[in-house]
């Protein structure tokens, strides 16, 4: 998933960037609201983590601006003061959940995953489509109960397609899931990865859920639950 992290404290930002990256997310980590607004306008994020105590434009204003620009991705706020005034204001301005500093990374991750699941309409930590099972917490795929060996990139593409099942997903979206910056973007990589993913899905059961939509991108045709 592509995440936007807005935190002014460099060390904490770096910590979040690394840990979330380790969890298989592509992270845009920025230090202030201006940059966050720019990134949000440029890319498609699946979730934002926003610190309320930002310098300049405050976290609350950032959330309001993101929402007024029509950004519907879930927003998780980080608040230094655990008081309800801040929480209520944050949630009312458009955030979806909060974590009070200092937090254990596991807690942040759990809340973040819950928000992502909720955003794509799944209530369970696993997504099923036909014989295919995706464990969102452990980032593993299973086919007919047997585990499937997927690389990290393959898994990310599969998860993103399944989360947006029965929708056309542009190649650019998939690239954003893999690389944080523009310069590394190469559409051919996506074609190669999708090709490999298809072969792995087909090899055991003949399951063919990924279709190419010419000129637009890909679609996971099976219904996911």
């Amino acid at each position: 998933m592509k995440l936007l992290v807005v935190e002014d404290e460099a060390l904490l930002r770096h910590h979040l960037y690394t840990r979330l990256g380790e969890q298989g997310h592509v992270v845009d980590a920025v230090a202030n609201a201006e940059e966050a607004l720019y990134r949000a306008a440029e890319y498609h994020h699946d979730l934002a983590v926003v610190d309320l105590g930002l310098p300049g434009i405050s976290g609350l204003d950032l959330i309001r601006q993101l929402r007024s620009q029509g950004k519907g991705f879930p927003i998780l706020i980080l608040t230094a003061r655990g008081n309800w005034q801040d929480k209520v204001e944050g949630l009312a301005s458009g955030a979806d959940d909060y974590v009070v500093k200092p937090f254990q990374f596991e807690e942040l991750e759990a809340r973040l995953n819950a928000l992502l699941r909720r955003a794509s309409g799944f209530t369970q930590a696993t997504i099923e489509a036909g014989p295919l099972q995706l464990d969102l917490n452990r980032k593993q795929a299973q086919m007919d109960g047997g585990s499937m060996a997927l690389t990290a990139y393959e898994y990310r593409i599969l998860e993103y397609l399944m989360r947006h099942h029965q929708q056309v997903v542009a190649k650019e979206r998939l690239i954003e899931q893999l690389y944080p910056d523009d310069e590394e973007r190469d559409p051919n990589v996506i074609e190669v990865l999708v090709g490999r993913l298809r072969r792995k899905l087909e090899s055991s059961t003949g399951f063919k859920p990924i279709e190419t939509v010419r000129g637009q991108g890909y679609m996971f045709t099976e219904r996911c639950r």
């Binding site: 105590g53 230094a80 003061r81 008081n83 209520v88 949630l91 009070v100 807690e107």
Partner: protein, 454 residues
């Protein structure tokens, strides 16, 4: 705080005190006035009587003649008063040695013992007779009808008439002074009411300031009070600014303390990945946890102090809406039903931020622990406001209730980063002199009961 207003003695009212003071002053003034007025009246009246008696004496002198050294009085005197037997005017003429030479017809039935002294002085005095008192006017003459003579002419008049007049005068005096006192007090009462109306309006404005419907006192007060109202306004403004500054610096402090703690937490997690350093990492984490809890707790305590002057009152309904909206978002998957049981427009006697914190913590506990239903009850009356937050969760075993309600104890230690729960709730309630208790709910879970003094 002591209950003020009901059992105070009467003299605690400024108006009563002023009235009493003024009444005493007026009575003293009148008491001093009475002898003066009476003296003036007596002097005037006696002057008149003296003049009359002098004129009567002059009439006697004019009527008297001497015949070869002997006094001859006409049988009939010019005025009738001396001749009437029951007349009020008595006349006597004595010689130098005090021997009675003549007495008027009117004096025949009176028994007055008065012997003039022939010393050349005119005298006016009061003499007690057998039955009544008399005013006596005594004048000496040396010449009568051009011949030398030495006579004392004495005229008398009973004091009865004078006493009646004097009594009537005194009655009138007391009556009018009494009326004047009443009128004075009535005027004073109205004057004080008028004067105190400004104090009343000040007290009304203070009430409005206390209940938060007014920011400060207006400038529409008498000049003498403006000094006070302006000082109070400065105080109010100062307190407001102070609180605001306080809140901002607490926010800054929280941010600048908690963010480094987050970094430390992250570092400790990174360290914990090396098995050899796991133990140190856990120590670090628990210390970070403790520090953060203390920071949270002390900051909350500091910011949620009860304000000194302003008596806050917050409508429960809208505040509950805000909190439930927020919590519904966080616990979206749970679909919690919140039922309410309180009158529309019910106000809780607390500051907005404090009530938000109190209810936020209690409601979040309920949301987290319930199966699907939360019940909020509020009752007002008998100078108390009672809030109950109930849920249908597992509830709290009776043995643990005491521990949970103890200061600084976390309600749910398994949820780090979830605030400091009942410790803050308890602190807030204590600062408002309220009570927190934990019971079983009819829904099957816990019931937190908050009692506040109005």
């Amino acid at each position: 705080m002591k209950q003020v207003g009901r059992y105070l003695p009467l003299t605690s009212s400024l108006r009563i005190r002023l009235m009493l003071g003024a009444a005493v002053l007026a009575v003293l003034f009148m008491a001093a006035l009475v002898p003066v007025l009476r003296g003036a009246f007596v002097i005037a009246l006696e002057g008149v009587i003296e003049k009359r008696l002098a004129a009567d004496a002059a009439a006697l002198v004019a009527a008297a003649r001497t015949d070869s050294g002997r006094l001859v009085m006409p049988a009939k005197l010019p005025g009738e008063a001396f001749d009437k037997l029951d007349g009020n005017l008595l006349g006597y003429i004595y010689d130098r040695k005090g021997k009675l030479l003549w007495q008027s017809r009117s004096s025949l039935d009176e028994h007055v013992t008065y012997t003039p002294r022939y010393d050349g002085n005119r005298e006016f005095l009061r003499v007690k007779g057998a039955e009544q008192s008399f005013f006596v006017y005594d004048v000496e003459i040396n010449l009568l009808g051009g011949r030398s003579a030495a006579l004392s002419i004495v005229t008398m008049q009973p004091t009865r008439e004078y006493e009646v007049m004097y009594r009537r005068f005194m009655e009138q005096l007391y009556l009018w002074l009494g009326v004047a006192l009443l009128v004075l007090l009535a005027l004073l009462w109205f004057g004080l009411t008028w004067g105190f109306r400004s104090l009343r309006s000040l007290s009304v404005e203070l009430d409005e300031v206390e209940n938060g419907s007014r920011e400060g006192l207006s400038d529409e007060h008498p000049r003498e009070l403006l000094r006070l109202t302006r000082s109070l306004n400065r105080l109010l403004e100062g307190e407001r600014k102070q609180r605001e500054r306080y809140r901002h610096s607490l926010d800054d402090l929280a941010h600048s303390l908690k963010t480094p703690l987050s970094v430390l937490q992250g570092v400790s997690e990174a360290i914990a990945e090396h098995p050899a350093q796991r133990e140190q990492a856990l120590v670090l984490q628990s210390q970070v946890g403790r520090m953060s809890q203390q920071v949270d707790y002390q900051l909350q305590r500091a910011s949620l102090r009860k304000s000194g002057l302003i008596r806050h009152c917050v409508e429960l309904g809208p505040l509950l809406d805000t909190l439930c909206d927020a919590l519904d978002k966080v616990y979206r998957d749970k679909q919690v039903r919140v039922s309410r049981d309180f009158q529309a427009g019910l106000c809780v006697p607390m500051e907005q931020a404090a009530l938000l914190e109190l209810l936020g913590n209690l409601l979040e506990n309920a949301y987290r622990l319930c199966l699907g239903q939360v019940h909020v009850v509020a009752r007002q009356g008998d100078g108390m406001c009672e809030l109950r937050i109930e849920d249908d969760g597992p509830g709290v075993p009776a043995a643990q209730r005491e521990r949970i309600l103890r200061r600084g104890e976390r309600l749910d230690a398994q949820h780090p980063g979830q605030g400091i729960g009942t410790a803050v709730v308890k602190d807030i309630i204590e600062s408002y002199d309220g009570e927190l208790s934990l019971e079983d709910s009819a829904l099957g879970g816990a019931c937190f009961r908050v009692r506040l003094l109005e």
